[in-house]
Symmetry: D2
Subunit: 494 residues, 4 copies
């Protein structure tokens, strides 16, 4: 772990000079203009400081947008330690800017400890995560007794998982041996916890006890939380930020609509107009993808397993077909299912020469990359980073973007700031709820109350010049809602 | 009530000759081709006859599409008596065709008793409803002891309300006196029940006891059901068909998308392209309306009170403004809110000369028609039926369609058959659930289980040439759903 | 010719009472609001009366929009006699309103002589045309020497053709015998001219000499004019109004976009969303048709013979295929080619049950109706006027709209007023050019100068709230155009 | 001219090693797949070699797409020397690949002499151009007497201008003195010609005499040609490739539709959805821009000076306004007019904070960059190359892309290969026409005959899976066109 060894003693990030930090500061300033939700919260809560006393451990892609989130949390009174939740997703200039802080220097940083850089190893990744849990310096500085955070802001659930596992093994008195069937990454986690247990028998137990709650961003992370809750093993309350309307219906649909064509263009420069684009899955991701491709003049064909979504696709004017039925006509495949092997090697072998394969769904296993790598006679040629030509035994080639991983991240820059502002405003509101209104949330998994979901939307209207209409008291009474909302029943589908 | 007096003794409908019935038969045949969900159910349940023994009292617009619904219910074994749920909505040729039946004649009808014609008075309307509850002839024919139906298929809740009120007053031993504050219609209902109580003290009590359940179609009717249930007064289980995805997300959005331009064209022949169309409300109705108008080349401006829906409208590319901010630019106003007075007299006075006002939301009070009628100096000129020019004191005029009532019904022909096939397939499945699986449904209000919602969609795919993709067992396991569905969590928003 | 015999002596139209005229007057008033181009011309030329002295013989569908055109011509000083150019296209209430005039009564008409009613025979049609050429009453009234008009406003070229044939036969001294190969209609024309020649040997020669010019509206009529000019046989200058940008690019594209879904809805009420619509031809008509169908959520497939238009269709996101390749998937066929037999009997036999066939192109021979009528075993069932089910030997049926003729006219109401305002403003400007600036136009065929084409557009902007930007003199100089236009080179494609 | 000094003696391009060339070769191979028109011509003319003997001097952006063009020209028999027509537009890897050739090495290049690199000075640019006119080495190698090319393939007209000026000054016997009012660039040209005249008195006269023709790509270049022809000064025939339908209607509309959002994304990563985008000009460029922005969920407002285009914009559903009327609502300005100062400093001062200004029209003077640079108190901050924040005296900032120059080139990669394939196929066909069918083209400016324009389209259909329909002979006769085309009259607008 040499790469991080040196800076650790002095600084949580490898800040060589101020240039990187300054570049990051520029971008943060531009991003602030596109994140009106967060900026509004800074204004609203400048005086009341609802997060005063909060010690937030954040585990979420360390990007420019996250920088605006972090500075919002601190503006509301919180102290923060941060890691990225993905080994590739850190934007180093954003990390540098946050570490240095607006007025700091490398020698006298005024910012937030961030443990993240682009291209970590798995060992580094989990080492970083452990650092973000280590608040002993802060405790020492104020002569307090804590060892870790009292809040988690999570994306994917790694931080939450570590606390749960750590406490479990402390209860058990032992960390189980790594099994051959364990993933490489789980082995790293077990090593970490083995070392931890060797040095302290109650570290994670104490942390777990201190934590007032976690807010979680992703489908995957939320799924784990519901499982823990169902098993009676959840240790602190959780807010499922993912299922806020202003999160799931916005970043999936509108984020992908933006970043899919962006990724295709940066990766390939291929004209989208006139092409046949096959969108696998017509959930929110697929809906955004299909709209974007049609908006560029492509002919879109959709596949679905859910008959309701399939019918929606048809009613929206798309052809709905199985991929194998039209494979020979397809120029671009876009996957957005959250499922595995929706594009098989057989599909790939049937594609046109130089057809493009782009995943905007979930993991790289949406496409059978493992199968492709094992395919006899296939040759992989790097055209440029994140763009590979696979020469197939058929004599044809295909272009695979971002090695089958999320190409809107790998070939473009992910969701734009405005979309993230919606998601992150939900995060901040969830942190306030859990920290400042702890009594409202016995251990369990919650979604944000609808009035807060509506508030998130409300904070993004002015920036778009949207004039909201107000109900008269009589109208509100007529439909049986408060004038100020919430306006819809819980199951309303938007 | 002379108009209906004569036929009652012999026939439930005023069948003068077979011409009307034959015209209706033609239209039913064409509609069947557009209602694949219902036709599939006929096939699927031809042998098992799950509704054998069911005596269904239906209260739902007696249109050509409803005719296909009725014949589907009977094909599944049910006996049926029918009324319209609106005094204007009956298509007489459809009613005639159903009464006469496919092989019958006026003298020897082979069809279903229908008590409905276009343009009933309130007295006639409730008289019809009462007839549909009177199954004494059927009981006599089979020497059975019942007096009424054992199932209700409802639209708006009038039939359900009548049973509840009737039984209540029988329990009370008296029908309350009509109050000055009672609506005219409620007075008619009280009269009816007063007469009923005079002739039988347990008619509605017995009917209520026999009824296994009701399936309800509308937001309004469902709202009443939840209120009854909350008050502990619901007498039998109810299925809320309205909140099936294949109902609410389909007829509101895709139905309005179709019927709004249709109604505008039939009413006014005004070019929609290039016009400024203001859509009040961006729920499912507003979403469909806005899409249709944009699809015709109009410039669409939207208003909303709910910040989430407002943000959706902005993200979909529409200007979002308060009506009063842009009133002078508007050529066509479309209301779809379910609220009252969203277009005020003041708005109307600010419109351009011959601007068009069209309601596709709910009641005629979305527009302040009452205020307009009281407006000093305003003159109403009939251009043609359902199209009125209101000459305003400003010297300008506006065109009001369908007197402020639903113009997609009044100026066009309502939702097309394919859309209704979705809604009605839900109705039939709900009837089967309640009748054949009574034990599953203790008294309460239910939505259809998601697998049936998905089934409704599934039955409409072939007609549109949709190929559904099938999950492999491994894929199904990966995302934790059965191969055959249901595929989504309950709160999934589509 | 009994139907017209009586009124002829007193009145040019069968005006039974004032009710029809009043209904027409209402509609004319509403249409005026949608025809800002014509209304602007009335204002602009109220004082100068550029058509004073003009005697215009108009031959153009006698609709409400044409009524506004006629009253514009008279407002500019012209006298007018009018016929429809199609036996079915007259709207009787419009004709009545024009004949009676705004202040007239049937006994004392104050309007314009119109010879047209819905549903003429061919004999009646040509008798009407002849009446519109007979200005002897007007000549008598003012003691003048003319016998006919001095201007023609033509749609399809029938009026122009009659003058040319009439003069030719007068020159020849004989009308040729009708040949077996002549069409029925041409036989009627020869009969008419035979009678004419019998009563006057120089009637058409004198008329031709008096005529200063003709403005022609249609592709067909324009084609005839260019042929006459090429053959050196054109007798007076002609302005090709059809090729004004504000005519051909507007009524074809935006008119069809409006009236195609309108016609489908009125004819069939079939949901367009989700259906497969096949558009034959991707010229301006096809472009408008495809846009309208996509705007309703249909999946559109296009066919083309011209590779440039085919490539445009692909770049606009449509599948481009031959009809026979996808015939089994098609729900609705729309033809817009101007060619013959683009839908063959073989195609029709391959369609899905109850597929719809709709022509918005040109003549009824776009679809092989003649072949269908001869098809062994085919049965034609009238569902309602202009909607026929053809039961095919295959056991399937198709729905043919308007018997294969233009369904946007037969099943809907044709182009809306706003679109016609563009076309008719071109007509009026062409009439002014030819009549008031005769010296500019030696015998030949002309298009309107581009500055007038731009003027037509300019007169329609205010009604749509369009703000036009003005060039600064420096900007105008930079791109080398006058500040006030014209702005584009002649071959600019828009 | 140090940067180019060394390579001149040995090689026309600074090839340091083969890495650059290999990267270029990869990209060329991918581009070939997107340029079916050019690849088809290679096949069609492989045997006949219609350009055998042609010596083509090409002056056109030295990009990957141009590399495919160059290799197509050589595949048809031509010899080629090439320069870029813009100091910034060269893609060095493409240039390297072409210079080295598919089988060459830096020591033994097998490719085409290219004189172009990214970031030339003006002196270097014109030195390069002169080199491409110097065919003395080729002449020497074959013992022939020529000194220059016999064909020009031009983009912007610089090459053509140089020949005309050079010959004129040779005729005059002197190069005029550079005037203070001359542009810097024209001074460089005069210097070059002064040196030329000093070393040869008939160099350009001989070249002009040898040249059989020029094909020209751009509006600007074509404009110059028409001026030369009108003045009787054109020295050889020219084909105006710009006005082929498959050029102007394709690269302007579909190219911009693709590259505008691409440039915005790469430059700013700002979410386009929900934003107000103001498109200045609704010609083909504006039409493509507006469609792209709407396709991303933006609200588009358009301005126009031409009432016809303004009316088109309104009919397409866009608000049409003057920029100053809505300036405070605008998030992104896109200019596409070809005119100057359509965005003024006053406009810029009225924009929202961090609004974006993007030019996709023509020169950087569409935006008043000169005025902005002179604005008291304005500060320019580089965010990253080609993205500048201008801090205004108002306290607000704007983001200017590519310094006001074409941002689809500066911030993205220009038109995609498929679009360029259309343009370049026109170029190749024009070269064949002028070189192989010289007798058809007396001195003058021509557009390609329509059948060749249609051919260009035809060659791009297969790649998109387009099935073209074929006319039957009877249908062709019915509409009076050959079965194989051309299908439209010259003035058809598409």
């Amino acid at each position: 772990m040499t790469s991080a060894a040196a800076p650790v003693t002095t600084l949580p990030f490898k800040v060589a000079d101020l240039t990187l930090a300054e570049a990051g500061r520029h971008q943060i300033r531009l991003a602030e203009n596109e994140m009106p939700g967060l900026m509004s919260l800074r204004e609203e809560f400048a005086a009341s400081q609802p997060l005063a006393g909060a010690r937030i451990m954040g585990s979420l892609h360390m990007t420019v947008q996250t920088a605006v989130l972090i500075e919002t949390l601190t503006a509301l009174g919180a102290r923060v330690r941060w890691v990225s939740c993905n080994i590739f997703s850190t934007q180093d200039e954003a990390a540098a800017a946050i570490v240095v802080g607006a007025t700091g220097t490398p020698d006298a940083p005024a910012g937030v400890p961030v443990f993240a850089w682009k291209g970590e190893t798995l060992e580094e990744y989990w080492w970083c995560t452990e650092q973000a849990f280590d608040w002993s310096a802060e405790a020492a500085a104020e002569g307090a007794d804590f060892t870790g955070p009292n809040m988690i802001l999570d994306d994917g659930g790694d931080a939450t998982m570590l606390v749960h596992k750590g406490r479990q093994f402390e209860l058990d008195g032992a960390v189980p041996a790594t099994q051959p069937s364990d993933s490489e990454e789980y082995g790293v986690v077990l090593d970490l916890l083995r070392r931890s247990l060797a040095s302290s028998t109650d570290r994670w137990t104490r942390i777990a006890a201190d934590i007032r709650g976690v807010s979680e961003e992703t489908t995957t992370g939320v799924h784990r939380l519901y499982e823990l809750a169902a098993a009676g093993e959840l240790l602190f309350p959780a807010i499922n930020v993912n299922d806020s309307v202003t999160k799931s219906k916005f970043d999936n649909k509108y984020g992908i609509r933006h970043s899919l064509p962006d990724g295709l263009n940066r990766a390939t420069d291929v004209l989208i107009g006139g092409k046949v684009v096959f969108v696998v899955g017509y959930g929110d991701v697929g809906k955004g993808a299909a709209e974007a491709m049609r908006g560029q003049g492509a002919r879109v064909i959709v596949s679905e397993v859910d008959p309701i979504c399939a019918l929606q696709a048809a009613m929206d004017g798309y052809q709905v077909a199985r991929l194998e039925s039209v494979i020979g006509d397809v120029d671009i495949i876009v996957t957005g299912t959250g499922n595995e092997n929706v594009v098989t090697v057989e599909h790939i072998m049937g594609l046109k020469h130089l057809a493009i394969i782009a995943n905007v769904g979930h993991f790289d296993n949406e496409i059978d990359m493992a199968g492709l790598e094992k395919l006899e006679g296939a040759v992989k040629v790097e055209i440029k980073p994140q763009v590979h030509e696979w020469r197939l035994p058929t004599g044809r080639s295909v272009l695979v973007l971002s090695e089958g991983r999320l190409m809107n991240l790998g070939n473009a820059t992910g969701h734009p700031s405005f979309v993230m502002s919606n998601s992150f405003t939900n995060q901040v509101l969830a942190q306030i709820e859990l920290y400042a209104f702890t009594e409202r949330y016995p251990i369990g998994v919650y979604v944000l109350p609808k009035y807060l979901d509506e508030k998130v939307a409300r904070l993004h209207l002015d920036a778009l010049g949207v004039e909201l209409t107000e109900l008269t008291p009589r109208q509100a009474a007529y439909i049986g809602v408060p004038v100020e909302g919430p306006y819809k029943v819980a199951h309303y589908r938007y």
